[in-house]
Symmetry: C2
Subunit: 246 residues, 2 copies
């Protein structure tokens, strides 16, 4: 790991809440949108299972309209629940290959899709999405590119959350040596990951998000979202769509 040494010229910062994004210079950065429970886990899964594209949108109205225009499946959640008027929810389990292959998914979620559009508006060079199911694809891509990186945690209504930070720590654990890191958020994320990496299923039961979602019977869903590389593709934002990078 390169901390405070005259080492790699690339920088990496971890942003703990969308509210903190504009403190950082996002231009010319690759921004990784992280929304472990569950938007970016679902995006990876749908694309891994052959979805043609995922269109992330901010509002329910946009979701319905774009669903009509594209013939896509409308999906989304607010506060962890399926939204009335949309076809499906925000669970990776809803998108097996037998259902989603070749289709367009139009997705709106509480936190992740909002941060994605904030990053685009802030002038990010590239926006990708990451969660444990596509950890390796994200890490390999970040190492291969010669760009500064922002790990963007979607948080919960702007409040810091543990699971997105844990994923930032998992990425850092693999790739920090390639970057110069003057960022306390990143150091903390690495600590958090090193403390809990061998016991993640127990760890997530402590999070506020677990208690919010598990009451809807989503335990299996949440455990899936913290398993590594089960849907190991790289979702990249291009012209309005998240598509698999080739």
């Amino acid at each position: 790991m390169a901390i405070f040494a005259a080492m790699p010229s690339r920088t990496l910062h971890t942003v703990l809440s969308p509210r903190l994004l504009n403190i950082y210079d996002v231009s010319n950065c690759i921004v990784v949108i992280i929304d472990v429970f569950r938007a970016t886990s679902t995006i990876a899964t749908a694309l891994y299972n052959g979805a043609a594209r995922v269109i992330p949108v901010d509002t329910v109205e946009q979701c319905i309209q774009i669903g009509k225009n594209t013939g896509g499946i409308t999906a989304g959640e607010r506060d962890g629940k399926v939204i009335e008027g949309l076809d499906y929810g925000n669970s990776p389990a809803e998108y097996p290959r037998s259902f989603i292959e070749g289709k367009t998914l139009v997705l709106t979620t509480t936190n992740g899709t909002r941060l994605l559009h904030m990053a685009l508006n802030a002038g990010a060079a590239e926006v990708i999405t990451g969660s444990f199911p596509n950890l390796s694809a994200v890490c390999d891509h970040l190492v291969a590119q010669d760009k500064n990186v922002i790990l963007g945690c979607s948080a919960w209504k702007d409040r810091f959350n543990l699971e997105d930070t844990l994923f930032a720590g998992a990425v850092l654990n693999r790739i920090s040596e390639h970057f110069t890191i003057h960022c306390d958020s990143s150091l903390m994320a690495m600590d958090l990951y090193s403390l809990h990496r061998h016991d993640i299923n127990r760890f997530i039961r402590r999070t506020t998000h677990w208690h919010r979602l598990a009451s809807y019977g989503l335990e299996k869903d949440l455990e899936y979202c913290v398993k590594e590389d089960l849907a190991n593709v790289l979702p990249v934002y291009r012209d309005g769509d998240l598509v698999c990078s080739l």
Copy 2:
């Protein structure tokens, strides 16, 4: 510790950056302003050494004006350096009893005094300041009052910092059982503290703030700021002044 149990009615939240303060309902809360390096360490020390009061102000101009009006000592820093036009800096070592006893200190700092005024403007029931030198006084007070608590980290120009979060973890380690805690920031702060509590002097050498300030030769200063109970008083904000609570 009471997490998600129908237990204490009092809540506690940790706010990781001033930018996140207004997500929380601050009214009727005791807000603990935390700026370990170095404003709240210096405030505790000056009051412990007999200062009549510390007047926290936002701007250098206010500092000079109020210094003139009160006959107080003007002090402050921006980006870790003494400000031209002010008498003294933001180091606890500058305020021994032989110098500060009975005097008024007018203090402006980069992060801590700003958060203090934000908390007041947000309607906090009480504002106190905390750092390791007055850890016990802070904890005893929070337990004794029947109020919700916000642990407010001053951060660095709105960026998360490790040392303020570490202090939040130290407070939580002592008093969390008295509160209901649905707050991932607090859980993370406790993890951070439990991971580093026995090796704090090594830990602070990893922080970005250490590298910022140690280049000015402030290593001893920073080590003082993370030692427990060397200036164990309770600074309380009353009518414009921080004074020792009796």
